[in-house]
Symmetry: C2
Subunit: 477 residues, 2 copies
């Protein structure tokens, strides 16, 4: 790790982010344009995200499987909107085993089409439904401008694909998965989100209705942090996914898909981080606690070492790291673990040992304010309490930031002003041309139409036409 | 599931295997030639394999990460033996984002080259060593003749890649990982293996020395079930992976790589299965126990249902499935779960409820022999005991089978005879031309040169030259 400081978050947010990702060793640029290497520390964070989601998927009856990364080009062409949406982003395999292929194969940008093909083969009867499958994999969507985690050609994600007998069941599944994402974001990642429906122009290529969770980053821009799509009968008709109902009539299935990706790591960085580096929510941090032993000579080292071992045993239920590196100062270690966002640091030196205490420092409260000395016998309790308190505090802080930067303008001038440094929550007529004009004027897009709507109606912020729903507009990643 | 029977394992092993994989819903053929879909039941088995290995990797200091699936063609060309070995099997991306690429990109057949490129960037000093990284991903190697799990263009695996300061450390790592594979195979999958060194002609393209674990399938053919490679300085020199030693001298690293794939699922099927279908080792089975309630009317259903719920609570520490499907007979369910290899079946009907018992049937002992009636209050104990007993018994049976079909011929005629239906464990001169001639004569290859060698020496089974090592020859998958 380099000794010099990060760019300031408030002065140069973009550069702060770019350097932080690399210097905290979350990820690195790969030699192939647009691709990234997720380094062990970043992958450990992703593994914790995976575990939290996977547990929720399985608790709601979903199972995991694996589908091939190669898809015949002709499959994509079966659903018109889908191929139009994804064509410009495809990576195409034209040579296999030394020979030119008769039909080019696409490296999956998403798996709806090959899922459709296989579900059509597997599903025969209403007894086979619902099918509730999730995949953990990576997908390719060609990108020219790389931003690690946020915009890369290859990214890692999960994609859920379900098939149902009825429209109602498909809609219920779509909403259930949106709520699972929101629950994960808020209660595990401490990232407050707005649950809502995407506009027609922003929906998934091939979907009937798309929903998203949207989060506000530290520069007030929005990030779509997870999406859930009701695909209607679109893919079922394109791939002939049909079942015999109890009356022996052939019916089309209703399908859904939903995904959350390594983009979410970008959200965690940009919501919680500060000028010193990452701040990781305790429920996801690869190391929840780091112990830094402090000693000046061999005798102190022995005394402190013994105390550290006891402390380690006491704290075994936490994800714990003891930094025993030689040849670097405690100060270097403090900075290093602050850069990496470890929630709690325990410092223990000869004085602490003599007093039977340990010094506890909270990552989200720099300086003296976040430090306390606790008796060793109460360390496990204190660590548990502080991790919980920090988890709650990170969420609260992010929520207050979002609230402070979300405006309800009532004139178009105020609306444009609001979008300079925040979100605008406004009545919108719902028309695509109005949405396009706003984007032209402000670079802001509809993020979503929140599920949580006031009663009544109003007039569109731009055109003044009657509007029955409020929408969130913002500049977005 | 179709009602008709599987082909007989003893009469048509190949067809028995092919049908079993599909009918047990482990995997299915994908629409892209050579590729497979791993269905939820197969993937759940793989997840259990992953958990057992991942735990062992992490306990020995390894961490996971993710590297891009796309590799510049020029990277492969940096290591001569490597590119020669993999060129014929490559899938090549030539179009990205609608444009022809300047340099074609290979979908990884394995990641040594891109790992080499990044390690060269990350490793500066002896303090950065060792680097101990593992990847869970899929790779592509073009195949024309598909056999699910055993030979597919895309397969799932883990690939470990480590870098060390010295030859000794790299060799120790190589052997440690081989032993972890062997431990997993024998103690988790109940598959006995021979640990050994690959011959020069069979080693990994680019390795200094390769080691493997080899298992005997139910038709006596061998399957290489995991490999561990000491790559020497080959990749370090090709990619300039160097470090400053404590004396400030620039040194090349020593690297290793090691992998175990979904092929191993093929081994589990072919080692343990029988004419009724799969037999899964208890430590890996997605469902260790299935409960089949038996009732003829609503009243019996209520009585049995209540008993099943109590039993479920009692057996909560096992991976448990209760088959409450309506509209199919208990007999159908028995066959279905036998096909899927669930280790223990618990049958519970009104008579059992009245007697306070439950009938326990072991998958590896068909008919009455494997059935016993146990008191409900002792069910958890009995289930635990039987799962342990079955785990041990599967291993023992496989070991006895291998022993019975491994011969130590001393003449070339006996050697050829032995290879018709088994393995030959013989003195071999170690020369490639002798190995090639044997392959020509018998279709058998050297599987490995066991680590466990007798003292002394002998004469080569084919050429009669002096031989210092014994080797295993066999026909292989």
């Amino acid at each position: 790790m380099s000794e010099d400081r990060l760019p300031s978050r408030s002065e140069n947010f973009a550069e702060w982010y770019n350097q932080l990702v690399v210097r905290a060793e979350l990820a690195d640029y790969a030699p192939v344009r647009g691709c990234m290497v997720v380094r062990p520390y970043g992958w450990a964070l992703w593994e914790n995200i995976q575990a939290a989601l996977d547990q929720r998927f399985k608790a709601t009856g979903h199972v995991n499987a694996a589908f091939p990364m190669l898809i015949p080009m002709s499959f994509l062409e079966k659903e018109k909107a889908h191929v139009e949406g994804f064509s410009p982003e495809l990576a195409v395999v034209t040579i296999g085993g030394g020979e030119k292929l008769e039909e080019p194969l696409v490296v999956r940008p998403t798996s709806e089409t090959i899922i459709g093909h296989m579900y059509a083969k597997w599903i025969k009867s209403y007894r086979d439904l619902p099918v509730l499958i999730n995949l953990w994999n990576s997908v390719l969507r060609w990108e020219m401008r790389t931003k690690l985690f946020l915009r890369t050609t290859e990214f890692y994600w999960q994609e859920g694909h379900t098939a149902h007998a009825t429209a109602e069941e498909a809609q219920a599944e779509t909403m259930q998965m949106l709520e699972i994402y929101a629950d994960f974001a808020e209660n595990v990642a401490a990232v407050p989100v707005v649950r809502g429906r995407k506009s027609e122009s922003e929906k998934f290529a091939g979907a009937l209705r798309s929903y998203s969770i949207e989060a506000m980053m530290g520069d007030t821009r929005a990030l779509q942090a997870g999406t859930s799509h009701n695909l209607g009968e679109n893919f079922a008709r394109a791939f002939e996914i049909r079942y015999l109902d109890p009356a022996n009539t052939l019916q089309y299935c209703w399908t859904t898909s939903w995904g959350l990706s390594t983009r979410f790591i970008g959200a965690i960085i940009m919501v919680h981080g500060d000028d010193q580096g990452l701040i990781l929510p305790p429920r996801l941090a690869p190391h929840q606690v780091v112990i830094v032993p402090i000693h000046k000579n061999e005798q102190e080292k022995a005394v402190v070492g013994e105390a550290v071992e006891k402390l380690e045993a006491q704290l075994a239920r936490f994800r714990l790291k003891v930094d025993r590196r030689e040849g670097v100062t405690p100060g270097f270690k403090f900075n290093d673990w602050e850069m990496r966002g470890v929630p709690l640091r325990l410092e223990i030196g000869p004085k602490d040992v003599a007093q039977g205490t340990v010094t506890l420092a909270r990552r989200d409260r720099p300086g003296k304010e976040g430090k306390q000395s606790v008796p060793v016998e109460g360390a496990a309790q204190a660590v548990g309490d502080q991790l919980e308190a920090m988890q709650a505090s990170l969420f609260q802080r992010a929520l207050e930031f979002r609230t402070a930067h979300t405006h309800q303008p009532t004139t178009y001038d105020d609306f444009k002003q609001a979008l300079e440094a925040g979100w605008a929550d406004v009545w919108w007529c719902g028309r695509g041309d109005c949405e396009a004009a706003i984007k032209e004027d402000t670079k802001a897009t509809t993020r979503n139409i929140p599920l949580d709507q006031p009663s009544g109606g109003g007039t569109c912020i731009r055109c003044g036409a009657s509007a029955s729903e409020r929408a969130i507009f913002a500049r977005a990643y």
